[in-house]
């Protein structure tokens, strides 16, 4: 590894890479890779720094996984991408892979894939072949948790996030749009909802056992018992072993609200996290409230939030940032990145104090991942 840094950008029309040195002052844009392919997620394996996977599909063609084992120099297609069995009792077919998650540090070569329709797949060979996780995909309640439906964002309901407890590979969480957060403590053999006190504004019972729409979840790296959630209906925090979430988004300014897709924890401070609020009023435009983009940072576990908007447009900035399109780079000072559906990439090299645009004119951005250059 070098001190240089790369941003892996997945878009609706292919993948791009932004590169910089340790100073993160100037960035070069390289690409496109796989022009025209829908790239929902573009991820590098932090365990080896060289294995890269893309979740790919096109408007015409079925879904696949594209792989590189040499840091992106060469690419090949997975021999056996995620697919349901031919005798699947529900007749399901994978529409696309949405989320790719490298496995636990103790399990080199293991990757997880969250797909649409909602299901989980596992690879034990660096993403070359994939098997369905029966404990979830064939769970007796699977059609209650994941009712068949069309639509959603983007292009259907999907497993929207996979989080692995760094203290043990058997403990995992999923973020889903129709069952909220699901937890396993036996690496996927059994699952249970984890949604207490998480609101559903769109159901008759506003606090059901499941039915919540978890947009993104993240563990605090320095305290894996702390779980952050940006939900369709607000921002939440949970400190395990408790099971009841606190709506820390209630402490956001009322005129901004607590609707959004992403949440990014600080790599070294468990009290600090960032969100990118979007307009959830009336018909849910899901753009920066008032056309004034800003991130909000908490440094006290969500008890209070501060606006960070220096460098962003002061007006007429109607940003939408999807759930995979905001991330950090783990460096000190922490770098924060976001990609918009308008094809712009913005960064802060000072923990959100100021932002600048580092790329524009890309297609609609679905995902942004920061990683060291191998």
């Amino acid at each position: 590894m070098t001190d240089d840094i790369q941003l892996l950008i997945g878009t609706r029309k292919g993948a791009w890479t932004l590169r910089s040195d340790a100073a993160r002052k100037t960035w070069s844009v390289e690409g496109p890779l796989f022009l025209g392919q829908i790239i929902n997620h573009f991820v590098v394996d932090p365990r080896d720094g060289r294995t890269m996977l893309m979740a790919a599909s096109t408007g015409h063609l079925g879904p696949t996984i594209l792989r590189s084992t040499d840091g992106g120099k060469t690419w090949a297609e997975a021999r056996q991408p995620p697919a349901f069995s031919k005798d699947d009792p529900h007749g399901r077919t994978v529409h696309h892979t949405f989320w790719l998650e490298p496995g636990h540090a103790d399990e080199p070569g293991v990757w997880w894939a969250g797909v649409s329709p909602q299901a989980l797949f596992r690879s034990a060979d660096q993403g070359d072949t994939w098997e369905g996780v029966a404990g979830l995909n064939e769970h007796p309640k699977v059609l209650d948790w994941f009712p068949p439906m069309d639509g959603g964002t983007p292009d259907g309901p999907m497993v929207a996030g996979i989080v692995i407890d760094p203290r043990g590979a058997r403990h995992m969480y999923l973020a889903t749009p129709t069952a909220g957060v699901l937890e396993t403590t036996d690496q996927g053999a059994t699952w249970a909802p984890l949604n207490e006190n998480v609101r559903c504004d769109y159901l008759p019972d506003p606090y059901p056992e499941y039915g919540q729409d978890a947009h993104q979840i993240a563990l605090a790296p320095t305290n894996p018992d702390r779980l952050w959630q940006q939900n369709h209906c607000g921002i939440y925090r949970l400190d395990r072993p408790a099971r009841r979430w606190d709506r820390i988004g209630d402490n956001m300014p009322r005129e901004v609200g607590d609707i959004g897709f992403s949440i990014v924890p600080h790599p070294r401070c468990a009290e600090t996290a960032w969100v990118f609020p979007m307009d959830g009023t009336e018909v849910w435009p899901r753009v920066s409230p008032g056309g004034k983009p800003a991130v909000y940072r908490t440094r006290d576990g969500g008890a209070s939030w501060e606006r960070q908007d220096k460098g962003f447009p002061r007006e007429q900035g109607w940003f939408t940032v999807k759930r995979q399109a905001m991330c950090g780079d783990g460096r000190d000072p922490f770098g924060l990145y976001l990609g918009t559906t308008g094809g712009e990439v913005w960064m802060s090299g000072d923990e959100g104090e100021s932002f600048r645009q580092i790329a524009a004119h890309l297609p609609e951005i679905y995902s942004v991942v920061a990683a060291p250059l191998p």
Partner: protein, 88 residues
Amino acid sequence: MSVSVLIPSQLTAYTDGATRLAAAGATVGEVLDDLDARFPGLRFRVVDEQDRVRRHMRIFVGRRETRTTGVSVADGDEVLIFGALSGG
């Protein structure tokens, strides 16, 4: 059976640029299997795991369209695969 298969632009990355290929099989599915053996991954991008032709792909045997893979083909038939997508 030997048939002639028209390959759409969306799949030429698999076929080294070839747009017309000879293939063997008694059904559309077997023809696709034959192609997949030579060009791994091609079949799954045209037909899903339940053997249904993907929504924005179209397969014709001569001038007859099929949405499934069990349709028979005869020696000398032409199998045409098209990508058909609207919107941006």
